[in-house]
Symmetry: C2
Subunit: 233 residues, 2 copies
DNA sequence: CAGTGGTCTAGACCACCGG
DNA sequence: CGGTGGTCTAGACCACTGT
């Protein structure tokens, strides 16, 4: 019997997804091959292929040559979130962004940093601490380290107008990055910068980037009280 | 002059990306059109199209009909993270997973929950609290609400063997989800469940799902001390 | 309105890997 | 080994939107 004649990879994708949701295709079950589906939908195989590839990218099905396409038994959905760009984040809230440099210093890299980034034993780094405000209330405290041997021009940048992140993205790209989130307790110093009480929970992001294996920078970002990172999917 | 003859969308993608990184294509600059690139690379336009589409998906370029493709001025990289599946998460650490139901109760939905999910005024919900252990040490405390009118079979499930999440993914799919992360302070109760001190920072995830607009479930997930959510990109 | 990306097609060859 | 998905091609039509 003729299926609906509406084509388009979006339709194919939505239709397969519907059948998965309704249990027509049960978890673990193998789906018809691309050729067969192309016939059913009355479209080219490439169209089916694109639909299935997206379903696979989004974690609904597993595809393997010869083995075919199977509905994932445990649907591991994945969500994408935008790496927070502080200025954009604040301005998106309709608030004015303000930046302030707290401290700037060239120093030998501390041991933990060398270990984390894989720095050379004698490496020197630029250490910056700064504040980001939304409407003049503290929003984020940034504790950043930049590898001078990979980004030598950092040594001569003042960082008194633009934050290190904005500066870095214009100076140097990166190829690998790692970001992790956790909850930490505010130290005495930090609590003053962020206008909170010592020991209060702080949402903390820690991010490292490399350029083809060479350590570029490391930052700890401490968010003021009440911050939430949200995403829909 | 002839460019390299190696084709493949992966090559095209990598080559364009390299030129972006090296500054050959500066931020904000417009790239050659697909036809032109196809000639340069000696391949079909569809091949270039796929390469460019992926670059766009990954946030390196912006594409618009008629306007062409531009290098993103502020590279907003996006990272994908897997929605944490507690059992898998713990077993991936090589530890044994254990689940325990703490409390189970059908109740009228509290006001904040109705507001958050968009529940009907007279809605009744199933409220569950449970613990997840890794190697018998507390890993996560779960505070979950399930909408009985959308998932009626929940009323008759005991939840004494399997956690609500594992049960739900087998019972009902969802179409929309929202997840947010924050740092909260451990309440007296919570600190006992997670074996920590009251007031200590707790990494907290809050997740809501809907099925075609109908509220399905809401959960607050409190992670034991020291938890980090990490992703590479 | 015209140029760009978005999508589809029909056919082809190939790599991989399950049986 | 043979079937499945992975990819490419040459060509086509179309939707959107900047100018």
């Amino acid at each position: 019997m003729a299926d609906t004649e509406i084509t388009g990879y979006r339709f194919v994708k939505a239709d397969i997804l519907r059948r998965i949701r309704e249990g027509v295709f049960a978890p673990g079950e193998i789906l018809p091959g691309e050729v067969s589906l192309a016939e059913q939908f009355g479209c080219a195989r490439a169209t089916v292929n694109r639909a299935m590839r997206e379903l696979s990218d989004e974690g609904f099905v597993d595809r393997r040559r010869k083995a075919g396409t199977r509905v994932k038994a445990k649907p591991t959905r994945r969500a994408a979130f935008e790496i927070p760009q502080i200025r954009a984040e604040i301005e998106a809230l309709g608030q004015t962004y303000r930046y302030a440099l707290v401290e700037r210093q060239c120093t030998p890299a501390p041991g933990w940093l060398k270990a984390r980034l894989g720095l050379a034993p004698e490496a020197r780094v630029l250490h910056l601490t700064c504040m980001h405000f939304a409407q003049n209330t503290p929003f984020q405290f940034e504790d950043r380290w930049i590898n001078i041997s990979v980004v030598p021009q950092a040594e001569f940048a003042s960082f008194d107008q633009d934050g290190p992140n904005e500066w870095l993205v214009q100076q140097i790209p990166f190829t690998e990055a790692e970001i992790s989130f956790s909850a930490t307790a505010a130290s005495a110093d930090l609590s003053e910068y962020l206008q909170m009480n010592p020991g209060e929970p702080v949402f903390t992001a820690e991010r490292s980037t490399w350029l083809s294996g060479a350590p570029v920078t490391h930052a700890r970002l401490y968010y003021a009280s009440g911050y939430r990172m949200t995403t829909r999917y």
